[in-house]
Every structure is written in structure tokens, then in C-alpha cells.
Amino acid sequence: MMKISRRGFIKLSVATGVAAGIKGKPILTAFAENSNAVNKLAQGKWKSTTCQGCTTWCPVQVYVVNGRAIKVRGNPNSKAMEGKVCPRAHMSLQQVYDPDRIKVPMKRTNPKKGRNEDPQFVPITWDEAVDTIAEKMMELRKNQETHKYVTFRGRYTYMRDIIYDAFTKIYGSPNGISHSAICAEAEKFGAYFTEGFWDYRDYDLLNTRYVLLWGADPLASNRQVPRVLNVWGDVLDRAKVAVIDPRLSATASKADEWLPVVPGEDGALALAMAHVILVEGLWSREFVGDFIDVINKFSPGVSVQEDTFQEKYTYGVVKWWNMELMNRTPEWAQDITGVPAEQIRRVAVDFASNAPNVISWLAPGSAMQVRGAYSAMACHALNGLVGSVDNKGGTLQGMKVPANSIPKYDAYVDEIAAKGKKYPKMDQRGYKEFPALNLGVSGGGVVTNRAADSILNEDPYEIKMAIGYWNNFTFSCTGASRWEKALEKLPFFAHITTHPAEMTKFADIVLPAAHHKYERWGYVKSKANRYAYATMNQRVIEPLWDVRMDETEIPWLIAEKLAQKGYPNLFNYYQNEFQDPETGKKPTNGMEFTLSALKMFTQPIWDPALNNKGDKFQGWQDFQEKGVWNSDPYPFKEKWGNFGTETKMFEFYSETLKHALEKHAEKHTTDVDDIMKTCKFTVTGEHSFIPHYEPAFRWGEENEYPFIFFEHRSRLNREARSANCSWYQDCKDVDPGDEKWDDVAKINPVDGVKLGIKTGDKIKLISPTGQIECTAKLWQGVRPGTIGKCYGQGHWAYGRIAAKDFQKMLPRGGNNNELLPADYDRFSGSTARHGGVTRIKVERV
């Protein structure tokens, strides 16, 4: 409702009259005087903010005319992206102005939950919505059941700790459960257990001479798309590019070599390349070292005495050779991977000959597989063999971004909360079958997709209530139907969301979220082009609807309500500990709280008295306008001999993994061999600690399910949140092999003939755990015997473009996650969505 809210409004009376104002200032309610208004109107302004359409997290600017966002460009102040954005960035205009956005809080009036139940949402006030949530939370507190509450986090900014950590813990639950394991944890595993770095790598594309891409499609997706788009022409001029991908991807279509590996057999390919590099004597003498007599003794099938080799910055190269590599010839790999031995040899030799200015670029495609942990290690280990780790033209870690963490909250945790948060987290991390070895710690990482089973089986305990934000697990997790069941069972669920997503359909309360790029405050950290950076999410336009910020304003509102209902600790923490660093003022509302927190977190960046690295600012205002802080460029070779591993060396024999697995086994009073078996691996003993061959694991028997199914990402996906944009659908065929306004399964024409299926036929894909319908596309860019399909379409909710019929809940195509079984790379906790995790059969509809 439109209220007269202008402060200082003079109450009218007959005696004074409005015209009394004429002697002084005019009394304005809707307007403000501004003699410069015409110029503002005509010129518009580029305002800095951040695009989080994918995890590149680009510093961008939005052109705002008259309060409307009109265009997007890369932030010219960014040294990582150099002012570029990818096509996704522009599409966000259709997200923020999407008529299908939730515009008011809603509650469900149909108590029955289910995919085919209409929730019968009705609008309610923010007060009622927040009151309902707080009431439920107080009920759990009363019964000392606070641990039965969960915060499900999806995409996030670094304001996250306010809701994910402090909110959850001060309330009394251990259950901040993130989405990370459905994203890409598996590839971090590869880097961690070789070079001790649990993160994504950066790449020195300017100086590289060979790029070997493992299931990576950097022209299309994660993690530095604009940077790659920008320099790729030059990279192709200077370097060779080889792409390992079962599909002719966007990047493969411009590459020198395409190695269409049988899905899930990437590891075998990497091992064969390592074999070639050693046999041909192409390893880095500078990094790995050499035989003492300088004569290469790596000869196929022949083991080598360890003491004949003097290693420099690596650990266990001879062990690796003796235990694994000596028999991993290209001929051996050829039959397994479907890639000719000759090509494997050629690529390996080319790659290593250009070393050390080369990149073995590991991405989720080659890592998020049931046995992907060891593939990830093998692919990344190639960088170790040729000395391209932390080297010019190679793969890099990142500079530190100076930022403050959240203030301590221990003093605000009361007895009930303390008891509640001591429970183990609900996602089964650290179970014998889910080591989730983030940073080498058993249960150190999340097992996101397991949370559904946890709810369904009440294992480790019952869950009664959850708040989810910026997530859509019912759509984005493999084995998606389990999530539907789990949310049916969950007694109370509040969803903070921009759109009526699949997960929203199961919500009791729906809260409209501010859009990350246009309507909120926050900041994120990322890196590319040797620069780490911090970029701010800023409110560049006034929201059209009454939306709130998920990570700050909403927890503030709930904290206020909890205080009214008798538990003031959270509110006190927010109010006392988040004072504006410039004025010392305590926040009095959610917006002030948000800005105070943001200023606090980023003070080491913008405060000239504190910052002595990278870009310098005059103060908060200056940082806000520029929008991005850049580090100094990353220096080469400084990690050599000082890696974060047990041995400080780059480990081919991973003492770090050995330590982690032994600790995990010890915790479950068993041995590593048992853990290996439990986690679906095939080897025993010392093999567990080196990158070794594991055959691809697949669901379904070949005789019943003749095709290997694999999926990939779209260059237009904003993490499956852009399918409701008409620009997405109009241009969907920029993904090689795909079609506009459709969702196609790409089938090799040879198989099409066998099946009697032609392009345009409606087909059903059936796996042992699910089935979906979509359109057939006969295309030469996939291997016979495999079927590839892009992720992102198949929404049965989300909006009227994303879904074929929103009211009838009919999807446009089919969601791959309904086809894919819920399986895991258990060592990282990661969801195993790649590597041909399931076989399928195809039927005509």
C-alpha cells in the first residue's frame, strides 16, 4: 500500500493551508527537487555490481536510466575480466524483470504436499510470514529440538555467515547445509591431494602454449568464462588446445584435438598420458628431478628402483610408476577410453613438449564421477609431471582477498542452543560410506544430496523444519524425486526465492528474494587472469516488488520476531556486533544491518588505513563506485617446495590422502581397504594413495540399458535459473547440437538408424531410477553408444517460459536430474552427475 511516509511532512490545517509552503519549501511527497534531474534522465549511469549467473562471479556494471536497468557490461575496473561479460550477464535483465517472480510473501493453503498438488498459495504480509516462521522455531526451542532445524544454502555471497552460520548456530542447530557438493567439490579433491589446495585453480592463459581440457568447456561454462572468451583467439594463435569430452563441446569445436572419451574413463586417459610423458623422458627436470645418472629408466612394463631417482619438488614419482603407470600404455587405454592410442600419444607428447607453459585443466566433467576422485588426481598430476604447477603459463592458486570474518557469537549461544548445535550435521558427512574429505578431514565437507535421504530415513535424526535460500534441490540434485519425497515429508519448509521454483512448490511459506545483481548488497571473492578480486553486489535499482535480501534482511526480521517471542540472543548479536564501522551506529533495521555488515566485512579492502595490498581506495564510497578490488598479480613458483601437502611437495603418492583415509578408517574402527570397498572403489593397499585406474561405475546393465547417458552444461545457463528468459530459449542453439525452445537428447545417427528414431521425434529416456521425455536430435558430435543431453531445461515449475505449461506443471523437455541416480564421489562428498553414471534405454513416445 502507498503510504505517506515522507519525514518532516507538515500537517495541514485550514489555518496554514498547503500554500503556506509557498513561502518556504514546497511540500513534496512523491517527488524530490533536483535541478540536475534532466541530465540524470538523459544520461543514465553505469553502476557497479556483481553477476552471479554462474560461479565465475563477474564484476559488472548495469546501465540505469530513470531507475530502470537497461544494459549490462563488464566492470572496466576488473583486472581479472578486463571489462568483459559473457552472454549470461545480459540475460539477467530478463530475470530481474521477470513477471513470474514472486512479488509478495505467500503461504500455502493446501496442506497436502506433492509434485501434483497445487499449493494454493495466497499472499500474506511480511509480518505474518516471518511470524509463522519464528513461531515454528520457538516451538522447536521449547521442546529442545533446535537441531531438527536446517538452513539449506544454495548460491551465496560472502554475507552468508549471517544466515548460514550465526543464525543457525545461535538458534541452536548444527545444520547449515550448503549446495557445494552438487557443484564441483570433486575437482578440488584432485588439487588438494596432490598440491594441498582445496579450491579452484587459476590459469595463466596469456603465457600458455598448450591447454589440455579435462571435461572442461571454458568457452561455455565455469569458471572464468568472459576471460576465456576474451583471449581465446590469442590462445589459439599461440597454443594448441586439446579437449577431452564425450561431446563436441563449444570449446572442442574450436580445438586442435578432440578426444571423445568414453564417459567416465578420463582417468585411464590421464594415466596413459602420464605413462607417455615418463617413457618419452618429457617430465620436468626442474620440478620433478631426474635419475641420478640422467638416463631415463622409465620403460613400459619395467619397474624402477626408487633410489635411482632424485626428486626435487615432488614426492613419489617412482612409486607411481612402479605401482600404476608402467603398464598404462596408450594401447591399454585405447580400448577403455575409445580414444586411439596414436592420438593419446600425440597429445601427451605435444603437451609435455611445450611444458612448463602448459595447463592440464581439470573440470567437473572428469571429476564428478562415482570413482572420480582418482581421475581428478590423475588429471591434475599431469601438471606436476611437467612442472606447470604454479608456473608461468600453467595452473595457479590464488592471491588472498583481505576481508573480515563474522564477529564471534559464542557469548550469544544459550544453553538450549549449545546443546542443539552439538548434534552431528544431518547430511551424513563422515559416515563410513561418506568420508567427504574436505581439507583432508573426515566429514569435513558437505554431502548435499544425502540430505534428502537423511530427511526420509530420519538418519541421523528427524528433521522438522527448514529454510532454504537461493537453491532448488528438487531440480538441481540428481535423484530429484527423492527430494520431492523428502520435502513432502518435511513438516515445515520456508523458501526464500526469486521465482516459483520446483522446491517452492513444497513450501509452507514463500519469501520473495532480492535479485543478487540488481537489488541486494553483498560481496564475493573470486579470481582469474592471475588476479584475485572482491566485487560487491549492489542495489542498483529499486526493486519493483516488496522483496528482501536472503542472507541479511530476512534473518534480521526473524531475529526480531524471535526476540519478541522470548529469545533475544540472535537479535542482540546482530544489533550489538554489527555496528557501522564508520559511525559506530547500531543498526535499527534490516537494511542498516546489511550495510553495516558489508562495510565491516570489506573494511580491510576499502579502508585506506588498513589496506596495503592491491587496489587502494579512498574509502567506502570509492570502493562502492568502483565496485571491485583487485589483488596484485599472482607470483609464480612461490609454492614450490611449500605446498599444503603432508610432505610440502607435489604428491604423486599422496601421503596427504593416506593420512586422511587412515584417520577416517580409524574413526570407523576399520582399515582403508574396507573404506575403499565401501566407497565403491576397486583397489586395495597402497594403490589407494596414488592416482590409479578405476573403471567407470555405471548404474544399469548393458543388455537392458544399452546407452551410456551423459550430461553437460549450457553456455546460457544461469545455473538452471535462466530457462524462464525468452533470450535463453531464442538462442538455445548456441550450444552445439541443441535446438531453440527445446530440450534435445543428442544421439549419434548410427544409433538413430538402429533405433528407428529421427531428429524431432519425441522420445522417452529411461534409467534404472527414473525417466524423462524430450526430443531426439541425431548429431555427429556424440559417440555411438552414448547419449548426451544439456542440463537446464525440463522445468515443471519456475515460470511460464521455463515450463511448457506452468499451470499443468508440464515440463519443457525433461530434467536430467530425474533420470540420473543419486550417487556420489564419496571421497569428496560430491554428487556424481558426470562420467556416464547411468545407462539408459530409449523409447519412442
Binding site: 500500500m1 511527497t29 534531474a37
Partner: protein, 214 residues
Amino acid sequence: MANNNSTKVIEQRADIYKLLSLLFYQPNHETAGYLKDLKELISDYMYSGIDFIDKMEKDLEKTSANANYLLVDYARLFVGPFNVLAAPYGSLYLDNERTVMGDSTIDACRQYAEAGLEIDVSFKEAPDHIAVELEFLYYLNYRYLETNELMYLVKQGDFLHGHLGFWIDHFTKAVLKNSNTDFYVNLTVITQNFIKEDMQFLKEFADNNFSVEL
């Protein structure tokens, strides 16, 4: 140049526009005061204006028994978000081709800006809301009185012709058809009548003044 007599008229017109604008906000405890002010002013300016306001005042009294009485009608008519029955936005009534080609809201904002105004950051409604357009006319009168520059009266005529004066009839029709309260029926009718008469007044005023100058 305006003489004392015309100054008084302009002041009254400013006041009326401002009060009408305020009355198109959500009703509150000050609504009665605005009505009282309006009653004083309108009698000099508009035939039978007082009768309309009497009906409004009577209707307003019902809010003492039921605080939400007017609010409900206000929401149904003007707010929604659920099925707005008489949308108070200009762009909705302005002809389709014009909206597409010319963009009426942008044009309104341009006119505001040219008069040195921008929408206040705390104001959450569309810039072509009736309350905004009425307040704009108030402001133009204020500027005229302050500067004696005739262009501020010309601007009023232009704005009424291109915007509020153009769509007020359609809007009134929608309110008459859908309103359940005397209050909003009469408020809208007063507004419509006043605007129509004022457009005539502006025309004559401008003609006279220009002829004097010429």
C-alpha cells in the same frame, strides 16, 4: 504578469492539487483534515464541490466503526496486487500504439525532470500514479508563484493534455464501475471535474496573458 487576484486563484489551485494528491494515498488519520481543507478551498472554485465532499465526509465517518472500511475499497481499486479494478496509472489508459512508440511513463518522467523534479527514492509507486501526477501540478503552480514564469502554467497545460487530463475520464469510469464507497466515487468525480475545469482555466489564462504581452 499575475496580479494579486490571480495569485490567490493559483494558490488555491495549488492547494487543491496537493490535497487531491494526498487523498489518493492510503487513507489514514489525517484524511479528515485534508477533506476539511479541501472543502474550504473548493467552494470558491468549483460549483457543487461541497456536496461531493459532504458525501465523502459522511462515508469517512464509517471508519470509526470499521477502521478498514475505506482501506478495503482502496486496495481493491488501486493496489491489488490482486486484480486492480481501477489502476491509478496513466500508462494503462494511454493508447497502445502510443505506449509502444512513445512510452508515456518515460515522457512523464521527462516532464518532471524538466521542471527540476525526480521521484523521491523513498517513493515506491510508479511515476505515473495519479497521486504523483497531481502533485506535479501542485508543484508547477508553486513554481509559478515563486518565479512568476509563465512557462510553469504552459507546462501544466501540456502535461494535462498529454497525461492526466487525457486518462482521467477512463480512470473515473473504472472507479465508478467498481467502487463500493461514496468516498472514492466522489473523490474521483471531484478530481475529474476539477481537472476539466482547470484545463479550461489554463487555456483562458494563457490566452489572456499572452495577448497582454503581445
